[in-house]
């Protein structure tokens, strides 16, 4: 399967080697062929054709004109329904366009569809969706694999070449882990780089939009397009967005990479440790100084995350009450019953589990012991990184503790499922940018991922290290 890159396609469109219509017809054909993967919650060919028509009439120059992009179904879109993969938002049609998707539309991109995800982005396998599992395109016949999650639909869409890029959101690893599982590039930028306006919230202090793509160059182009300050999001950052693509520089000579010892966890498969070592060796050869660093509070990151994220979620999801929009149960004899039945029937198991956890940790008598303590630990974790970044320019770790696992493997063991986030959660808590790039394979020839973390708003360094590793691997 030879996949055309975004960079190459833009050139081909410019030189008229291919038309916007031809390009998208090609992707539409593949989307229909790969229907069995259940990548999309919403796909409407007529809608795509209409977008092509409109672009053909449009003479202005646009950066991503005609580029097929898939949108995680957590971003509110005017032209397509938005469900967050939940029954409670079945048939919800926003009257507004999220900041990120509006930017992509302004650049002239074509939305091929809304991709599947774990319900309200809560999960690591895209198996909590009301609309069914997404299947990892790398699965062998009769051995369906999970694409990771929560942005599994978007990762799979890129891996199956159903688009040239996709949006995702990452709260604790929801872009990086599925990117690793599907063998594509996934970047979660610094918290605040992309506005959260119009993204159905999971955990507001952690949610961050990002990009899936075939390669690092493409990711640098797409991230540039969705980043930027938005006054409608109070946590959006007023920073200059460099031209990541123009500034890409794979010469890392003289840079220092931090290798955190706490990321060597007992029970990590040999293959994972191996690719990590390989990556370090490659960097060393490129003249990068290797610095062993310590992030002492790493082991508390997962429990901290699984207090803070559910706490915020329990409150963020209170608005889905059957009063104003979305699903409302038929069995209602009182206001309380309307809430109970609507939410009992409208939310799936994992979402309900997290609402319960979140409600518990915020309750009177438990708040100090859980939520408040978790906030303090979060600060310590962020401080660990701040200290470490005084001694290094970027940090390299594995992305996930395993390759893609069989579809239903961890379905009934939430703790095991939560462990998937062990390498990605600390950077989320600290609000740092992180990218996952394919790097090596396991014994079943499934891709593995390397994660590169950078300083706040130093996405350029993250891209530079990633492109350097990527080029040496190719």
């Amino acid at each position: 399967m030879s996949k055309s890159s975004l960079k190459q396609t833009l050139k081909d469109l410019e030189t008229k080697k291919i038309s916007i219509r031809e390009l998208n017809q090609d992707y539409l054909k593949r989307i229909k062929e790969k229907d069995n993967l259940n990548v999309f919650i919403h796909f409407n060919e007529d809608n795509v054709l209409k977008q092509i028509d409109n672009l053909e009439k449009d003479n202005s120059v646009k950066k991503l004109k005609g580029i097929p992009i898939a949108i995680k179904d957590l971003f509110c879109t005017k032209s397509m329904p938005t469900t967050a993969a939940s029954k409670i938002l079945e048939n919800f049609n926003p009257t507004y366009e999220s900041f990120v998707t509006q930017k992509l539309l302004d650049e002239g991109s074509i939305f091929v569809g809304k991709t599947n995800l774990d319900e309200f982005a809560m999960g690591s396998a895209t198996n909590t969706s009301f609309f069914g599992n997404t299947i990892n395109p790398l699965s062998k016949e009769n051995e369906p694999l999970a694409p990771g999650g929560s942005s599994g639909g978007s990762a799979a869409a890129v891996a199956a070449d159903l688009c040239l890029g996709a949006t995702g959101t990452d709260t604790g690893g929801s872009i990086r882990q599925p990117a690793s599982f599907c063998g594509v590039v996934g970047i979660k930028p610094t918290y605040g780089l992309c506005s959260r306006w119009g993204i159905a919230a999971f955990a507001s202090s952690l949610d961050q939009a990002g990009i899936f793509s075939h390669n690092v160059e493409d990711a640098s182009i797409l991230l540039q397009s969705i980043a930027g300050f938005d006054q409608r999001d109070s946590t959006s950052a007023k920073v200059n967005i460099p031209n990541y693509f123009e500034n890409l520089d794979d010469d890392l000579n003289g840079k220092t990479v931090g290798i955190p010892k706490e990321y060597s966890i007992d029970g990590t498969p040999m293959e994972i440790s191996q690719i990590w070592e390989d990556a370090i060796k490659v960097l060393e050869k490129k003249g990068v100084k290797i610095k062993n660093i310590s992030l002492p509070h790493t082991k508390y990151a997962l429990p901290t995350y699984y207090i803070i994220a559910p706490a915020e979620a329990s409150s963020n999801l209170a608005r889905y009450d059957g009063v104003k929009y979305g699903f409302r149960s038929d069995e209602i004899d009182s206001l309380d019953e309307m809430y109970e039945n609507t939410r009992a029937q409208g939310f799936g198991r994992e979402v309900k589990r997290r609402i319960l956890i979140g409600t518990y940790v915020l309750s009177a008598g438990y708040y100090d012991a859980y939520y408040l303590k978790a906030q303090k630990v979060r600060k310590l974790i962020a401080d660990d990184f701040n200290k470490a970044f005084k001694e290094c320019d970027f940090i390299v770790t594995p992305t996930a503790p395993s390759a893609a696992f069989p579809l239903n493997e961890k379905q009934n063991d939430p703790i095991k499922m939560y462990l998937n986030d062990v390498f990605t959660v600390p950077a989320s808590l600290a609000g740092l940018p992180g990218i996952s790039i394919p790097f090596g394979k396991d014994k079943n020839n499934l891709p593995l991922g390397i994660q590169i973390l950078g300083k706040h708003f130093d996405e350029q360094q993250v891209f530079n290290a990633a492109v350097s590793l990527e080029r040496s691997y190719e």
């Binding site: 509110c76 009257t95 507004y96 959260r196 209170a318 009063v323 309750s363 708040y367």
Partner: protein, 491 residues
């Protein structure tokens, strides 16, 4: 001062604390740009944020923050440079987010105080615990349909200031005076329109009773009272209820109560066990609110004269009593009216007390009778000033002035016009008055005899007769003096 109330067995002291909810005067809501206009058609002022659509985020309205700071300064309170918005989580149909954005641990305004003034000239400080900003909820309409409840979100997200007092209040009257004073300060500052009928200002009242010197008793909270009358009624009823329970050997349950305005009674809404666990936590959609000293200073410099400052100024400049000055400054429109009146003629400064009386008793009673407000008084401050000047220069008597004011009120004419047209000038010509008195004495020889025999009271009769003949225009003092003189000569 004895503030105790009598039970069957003991004397009791009421302990009262108020939480006042004041709607911030602002064109747009606390976290969205929707209009706050009162009385618009249902759900016509609802943004995506107010309706809590997925992915919508609150953005703080800086003007509302300034209004809160301004109010804090007006309450002599500490302004906190750092404050935090928290989420107060509970489900209700008219609360679209499923939480109210409020301030819990770190309010924008800390401790302050306001002073209330009593008729006897004394005053008392009521301490303020805090003021914080929060969102109002929408409105559930239960009376539109027999089987359905409708929700109007126009009010959803409107900014409120919650002003919490210490339990320093001891009587229903003090509670009334306290809320009046807060209302007055807010209206001077222009941070709240003070309209209690429209719900712009309402209060939750915490009440407990104790024997003097005892620890505080268990309190009950009466929710959402929107008039001073109801506040007083509710306190009276609730205090008696608690005293009856305690005197019959029972104990008070810490309840949240509702007040029924038609029966004048309170009834429990929920008890302590049923109380919500609001699961407060900092709103992750909003950054902590930081206000610099410079910003506070800037706001401070924009603050107009407040009732207490103005009161002291009036006392000093015009030698008014504490009570007169506090009545005058209780409402901005009153003090504005007074200022304009007294500045309309330089002479009036020496007759400030007369000006006060004519505003707060005569003009107010006319306005009341006609259901009108000082803001649209048919008698302008200049015209009232002219009237007072006619009185103070003895051109007309006080009695005639009352008729003149009534005439001014209905016809809109000036005092001077009326006095000239009707020839109401006082007669101050000694000869003219003496002539009239001579007439009266001549016509009532018997009365004169009785008077001279010691029936002093009859003096009033002669005055009345003489006034009648002068159509009330004789200068009363001169009339009296000359009358006495002439009668005594007969002796």
């Amino acid at each position: 001062m004895n503030n105790l109330i009598k039970g069957e067995k003991y004397d009791w002291e009421i302990v009262i604390g108020l939480e006042i909810h004041a709607q911030v005067k602002s064109n747009s809501k606390l976290f969205s740009s929707s209009s706050t206009k009162f009385g618009s058609s249902p759900n016509s002022q609802v943004s995506l944020v107010d309706a809590a659509m997925p992915g919508m985020l609150p953005v703080i309205n800086k003007y509302c923050v300034e209004q809160a700071v301004k109010t804090g300064i007006g309450l002599n309170a500490k302004i906190n440079n750092y404050s935090v918005f928290d989420r107060k989580n509970y489900f209700y149909a008219d609360l679209p987010q499923g939480y109210q954005i409020s301030q819990y641990k770190y309010p924008i305004v800390g401790e302050g105080k306001v002073t209330i003034d009593f008729k006897d000239g004394t005053s008392k400080d009521i301490r303020i615990v805090r003021l914080h900003l929060e969102q109002d909820a929408g409105k559930s309409l239960h009376d539109q349909n027999p089987s359905k409840t409708y929700v109007d979100l126009n009010r959803s997200g409107v900014a409120l200031m919650e002003i919490v007092s210490e339990p320093d209040i001891r009587t229903p009257d003090e509670a009334g005076m306290y809320i009046s004073k807060i209302r007055s300060i807010l209206m001077y500052l222009d941070t709240c329109d003070g309209n209690m009928q429209e719900g712009s200002l309402r209060a939750d009242v915490n009440i407990s009773v104790r024997k003097p010197g005892d620890e505080y008793g268990t309190r009950c909270e009466i929710k959402n009272l929107n008039s001073i009358k109801f506040i007083k009624q509710a306190i009276n009823y609730e205090a008696k209820r608690q005293i009856e329970i305690l005197e019959s050997g029972g104990s008070i349950e810490q309840n949240t109560m509702l007040f029924n305005t038609s029966t004048g009674k309170t009834r429990p809404m929920r008890n302590k066990e049923e109380a919500h666990d609001y699961r407060y936590f900092p709103d992750p959609d909003l950054l902590p609110l930081e206000i610099s000293k410079e910003e506070i200073g800037k706001i401070k410099s924009s603050i107009p004269e407040l009732p207490d400052e103005l009161k002291n100024k009036f006392i000093e400049t015009y030698k008014l009593s504490n009570y007169d000055a506090s009545v005058l400054t209780a409402e901005k429109q009153t003090s504005d009216y007074f200022n304009e009146t007294i500045n309309s003629d330089s002479e009036l400064k020496n007759h400030a007390k007369i000006v006060v009386n004519w505003i707060t008793s005569e003009l107010f009673s006319l306005l009341n009778k006609n259901n009108q407000d000082l803001n649209n008084s048919p008698v302008s401050p200049e015209n009232l000033g002219q009237l007072v000047k006619l009185i103070s220069t003895n051109e007309i008597s006080g009695k005639i002035a009352k008729d003149v004011l009534e005439d001014m009120f209905s016809s809109g004419k000036t005092a001077r016009q009326i006095v000239d047209e009707k020839g109401l000038q006082q007669v101050t010509d000694q000869g003219e008055i003496a002539k009239v008195i001579d007439e009266v004495i001549a016509e009532n020889p018997k009365m004169v005899e009785q008077y001279l025999a010691g029936k002093d009271k009859l003096l009033g009769f002669f005055v009345g007769q003489a006034m009648k003949l002068t159509k009330g225009k004789a200068n009363p003092k001169m009339l009296n003096d000359i009358l006495k003189q002439k009668l005594n000569k007969k002796n």
